[in-house]
């Protein structure tokens, strides 16, 4: 019979992941993990593809923290189907440079093997994330910028 990850394992994983403590996260990461964060790597250097447990733990413990320090990771939806898990979360962090608070949504698609994450794909609202990390509205050539009275992204 094919492997299915239990809700208890998923719950334990995201609680560990929310701490951003590599020691707590390590037991849930497979040695051969592939961890991808979709986004502009030249502005958000933690984006890209990271392979192997040591590299992923280094990403979480050092590379992300060089840009922002997450203090809240709240799942809004968790969908578990067999060995795969989709999670929609709201991540809040302080910019490492000046301590300003930023917040954006993250979607994770994970595949588990032996109760460990073997594949992760993270999708972030990257335009919003870049604007908040840099603390400035982006200059999108040729695009009209809405005034204050306009509806703003959710």
């Amino acid at each position: 019979m094919s492997y299915s990850v239990s809700r208890a394992v998923v719950d334990a994983f995201y609680k560990a992941y929310a701490t951003r403590d590599a020691d707590k996260i390590a037991p849930f990461i497979h040695d051969d993990v592939e961890w991808t964060i979709s986004g502009p790597v030249d502005y958000l250097p933690f984006c890209g593809i990271h392979r192997g447990k040591a590299n992923v733990l280094d990403l979480i413990e050092h590379k992300v923290k060089a840009v922002l320090r997450t203090f809240s990771f709240v799942p809004e939806s968790i969908v578990i189907d067999g060995d795969q898990v989709a999670m929609l979360s709201r991540q809040s962090a302080k910019r490492t440079g000046d301590g300003c608070t930023i917040s954006y949504r993250v979607a994770n698609l994970m595949r588990f093997r032996d109760d460990k994450v073997i594949v992760n794909f993270s999708l972030i609202d990257s335009y919003d994330a870049v604007e908040q990390v840099f603390g400035q509205q982006l200059v999108a050539p040729g695009a009209p910028r809405a005034g204050n009275g306009d509806f703003v992204a959710v």
Binding site: T36, S38, G39, P40, V41, D42, Y43, C47, G48, I49, E76, S77, I78, V79, I80, D81, Q84, V85, A86, L88, R105, V106, A107, L109, F121, L123, I124, D125, S126, Y127, D128, A129, V130, F134, Q136, L138, V139, A140, P141, G142, A143, P144, R145, A146, D150, F151, V152, A153, V154
Partner: protein, 154 residues
């Protein structure tokens, strides 16, 4: 406890959505459906939150095609868990006015009640989407764009 949605209903909804078949899509939407596309609404006007079946169908059938024609969703993963479903994939389209092909990552989280969609939220790689829709690189004030030798966003 929420009533589980049958896989056949989720697959029927996605078949209609992926094919932009709005006649087929209609019966899958609750009259009071909430439809949210996370992203910069002042650059991508189809982003934001809509409520109500008629408004959502207008968004899909008339508003979005002003910017993106021939939309096709290619799911990489479909997960179903109780009353919820999640789909990760690529959205492909073209800018009809200039004939440019566009493709970006998308994650969708959907909640069903009585076999109808009551809540839809999609997250897109919005930085990538904006650059492709505008056909120009976005300038980040104070940001440093990586050179050709750097790893590029996935």
């Amino acid at each position: 406890m929420a009533k589980p949605v049958p896989r056949s209903v989720v697959e029927g909804f996605y078949k209609a959505l992926a094919a932009s078949d709005f006649v087929a899509l209609d019966p899958y939407l609750d009259e009071n459906v909430t439809w949210t596309i996370s992203g910069p609404v002042d650059v991508l006007p189809f982003c934001g939150q809509r409520r109500g079946k008629d408004i959502v169908l207008k968004l899909l059938d008339r508003d979005i095609p002003v910017f993106l024609e021939k939309r096709r969703l290619t799911p990489n993963a479909m997960l179903i868990d109780g009353d919820r479903a999640a789909v990760f994939g690529k959205l492909m389209a073209s800018r009809g006015d200039i004939g440019r092909k566009i493709s970006y990552h998308i994650a969708q989280f959907v909640r069903f009640e009585n076999e109808k969609v009551v809540d839809y939220l999609s997250l897109i790689d919005s930085f990538d989407a904006v650059e492709q829709v505008l056909g120009k690189q976005i300038t980040v004030p104070g940001g440093v764009r990586a050179g050709d030798g750097e790893l590029v966003a996935i």
